[in-house]
């Protein structure tokens, strides 16, 4: 492993262990989204507690609209870890419910799930390079009683001296992958031989084109066959594919070194209004 990748791994393991060893395990949860960052986070949790099993629960906030390959992958992973699947009973539809869909099915669902299981500390795989408001985020980030983020008055932080405390009025979000970039994630997946959802690799797929990009065709679409892959995975109606020839990890890494665009371009969720991610995060989104 290159020295810098080893340093990223070391820092991630340190924060995972420090938070888990200094808090009640029953109040800790790891958000698992089935994507590449979640796969890396899961791998780091295995390493952090080796040779013991992972001592905390994982949770997938389901919307019912993930790719079928993601569900197959999740069900396989669920055999290895203690995984809770939570879905907001409101069951909104991304095609007809617009921006409310993300709020209700993701942000509100997340808050409902935290409350239902009484979790006070939630790990997530978010990275600072993903989006501009995330570049301002702490590794250990405090949320108020309503799970809200206050970006203008954050707790001062000097890694690796993490403040692991919370009170009755606060909870914590913890981001061990804060300093990783998209390429770091792939270099690490390659080095550690981590399994990811096959949708990340180029394959001929049935897609439809609309004004915001290429999307997986549903049964009712005519569509066309294109060789595509996904840089990020989410709900299929909101997650665009990219034309790609990258069939292997090495080819993905090579493609990313030369790409002209960031990965968020494939996500509809960040683009509905300016500063929409900041607003979502303030309201409790990851």
């Amino acid at each position: 492993m290159t020295p810098y990748l080893q340093q990223l791994e070391k820092e991630a393991l340190e924060v995972i262990r420090e938070i888990c060893f200094s808090n009640r395990l029953s109040e800790i949860v790891v958000f698992y989204s089935i994507g590449k960052d979640s796969s890396v986070l899961l791998h780091l949790f295995k390493k952090a507690f080796f040779p013991f099993p992972i001592p905390v629960r994982f949770m997938h906030i389901d919307t019912g609209w993930k790719f079928k390959e993601m569900y197959a992958f999740r069900d396989k992973i669920a055999k290895q870890i203690d995984l809770i699947v939570y879905k907001n009973p409101a069951c909104l539809n991304p095609y007809t419910d617009g921006p409310r869909y993300t709020d209700v099915m993701k942000t509100q669902a997340l808050k409902q799930a935290l409350q239902k299981y009484n979790f006070k500390i939630a790990f997530g795989g978010s990275r600072r390079d993903e989006e501009k408001s995330r570049s301002k985020e702490r590794v250990v980030s405090v949320r108020d009683a309503e799970n809200k983020w206050n970006p203008y008055n954050q707790n001062p932080e000097i890694p690796p001296l993490y403040n692991t405390f919370h009170t009755d009025q606060t909870s914590l979000r913890v981001f061990p992958l804060s300093d990783w970039t998209e390429i770091d994630i792939w270099e690490y997946i390659k080095h550690e031989n981590i399994e990811v959802v096959p949708l990340y690799f180029a394959h001929e797929r049935h897609v439809v084109r609309n004004q915001s990009g290429l999307y997986i065709a549903t049964e009712n679409d005519t569509g066309e066959i294109k060789k595509v892959r996904f840089r990020t995975l989410g709900c299929y109606p909101l997650t665009g594919a990219v034309l790609s020839e990258a069939e292997t990890i090495d080819e993905v890494i090579n493609e990313l070194k030369h790409t002209a665009y960031t990965e968020r371009i494939t996500r509809v969720i960040d683009y509905d209004t300016d500063f929409s991610m900041e607003k979502k995060k303030i309201n409790g989104y990851f």
């Binding site: 060893f21 501009k132 570049s135 405090v142």
Partner: protein, 365 residues
């Protein structure tokens, strides 16, 4: 790719920190097409300029954009000459000095941005002092807005003023004019950073100190697994067969060869000894003490009882004066002059659990 190198970018508000960093990101190919289009659209809309607003790449919060100031640290990453840089863009406003100080505490070196067209501000002097307080080794001062400077002859005097501020503070430094807007001297900034990174990596490599703050010990099949945080460049994991001192008991422990094949930060020792969270293993002398000289930066006024966290140990503060502190249990520390990495802790309000200060351990004040 080599190890990561952490640089802060600091200086007074409006002197051009975010613009410089945005330019560095742009020059190193770290800005993608969609981000560039967004920055171009913003500058055309606001100023009718066809040049991207480089600061746009850094200021990530809505209020930062509307007020055109940086409130909190932005973390950005770029690669130059096989070195991975982690840059921390600091706020210049006095109100947000706490965010600059926390960034300085974990950085290797500093880019200090000074507006060449204006007199030196109090906040610039304050930032230089904070860099010195946290023992940053290397400083690059960029005299920005060179393109706007009508009389270039004032530069020499400005450089002297800055030299006076930097001297006797333990920095190795360099000062030169730049323009982030026109790109003047930007390649120089990058080569200085490259040189700093090389020097810093060499220094870290030469330093043989290993300090391991213990997070937990677990037993399985009669074996003890010790988990902790490596504070220095050299890791305890690769010190098989070497002897370390366990604090506070001062027992000598030998690192078992199995440690090399365990994940990072997990070791076994040959001697079957029980250790506790907050204990420390080191191959260099540490001070085990509950009374020490300090200089504390308070981020807000303390109103309740205080906890002090250092390494993995959390203790209660019993007494605190401007220069001395006493805690209810010993810490295993170094002064910041001796080993920077082990030379400070954070102060936590016992009731709100907020981090309200950074306590720096010093030689007798």
């Amino acid at each position: 790719m080599k190890r990561m190198f952490k640089v802060i970018c600091c200086g007074n508000v409006d002197d051009g920190k975010s613009t410089l960093l945005g330019r560095l990101l742009y020059e190193t190919g770290s800005i993608k097409q969609d981000q560039l289009e967004e920055a171009l659209a913003s500058s055309i809309k606001k100023e009718g300029s066809a040049q991207p607003d480089f600061a746009m790449f850094l200021d990530g919060l809505a209020m930062e954009r509307t007020k055109k100031i940086t409130v909190d640290v932005a973390h950005r990453y770029f690669t130059y000459k096989q070195i991975r840089f982690h840059v921390l863009d600091c706020p210049g406003h006095e109100e947000y000095t706490k965010n600059m100080a926390t960034a300085a505490a974990c950085a290797d070196s500093a880019l200090i941005v000074v507006d060449a067209t204006r007199p030196i501000r109090a906040q610039t002097i304050r930032h230089i002092e904070i860099c010195a307080l946290f023992r940053l080794k290397q400083v690059c001062v960029c005299l920005t807005k060179y393109d706007l400077l009508a009389d270039k002859s004032v530069l020499k005097q400005k450089e002297e003023e800055i030299q006076n501020l930097l001297k006797d503070k333990g920095f190795s430094y360099t000062i030169f004019p730049i323009s982030a807007v026109t790109g003047y001297n930007i390649p120089n900034v990058l080569s200085v950073l490259e040189k700093f990174a090389e020097q810093s990596a060499n220094m870290a490599e030469k330093n043989q100190s290993v300090i391991f703050h213990i997070q937990a010990m677990k037993q399985l099949d009669g074996k003890r697994y010790i988990y902790g945080k490596n504070l220095m460049n050299h890791l305890i994991d690769s010190e098989s067969g070497k002897t370390f001192t366990l604090y506070p008991s001062k027992q000598k422990l030998t690192i078992a060869p199995e440690s090399a094949s365990l994940p990072l930060g997990c070791i076994q020792t040959i001697e079957p000894v029980d250790v506790n969270v907050g204990d420390c293993l080191a191959n260099c002398p540490l001070m085990a003490t509950n009374t020490f000289s300090h200089r504390t930066l308070f981020f807000e006024e303390p109103t309740n009882r205080l906890l002090l966290k250092h390494g993995t140990k959390v203790v209660k503060v019993i007494q605190i004066s401007d220069t001395q502190m006493q805690t209810d249990a010993p810490l295993f520390l170094n002064t910041i002059e001796d080993i920077k990495e082990n030379g400070f802790g954070i102060l936590i309000d016992e009731s709100s659990k907020k981090t309200i200060g950074c306590c720096i351990f010093t030689h007798n004040a």
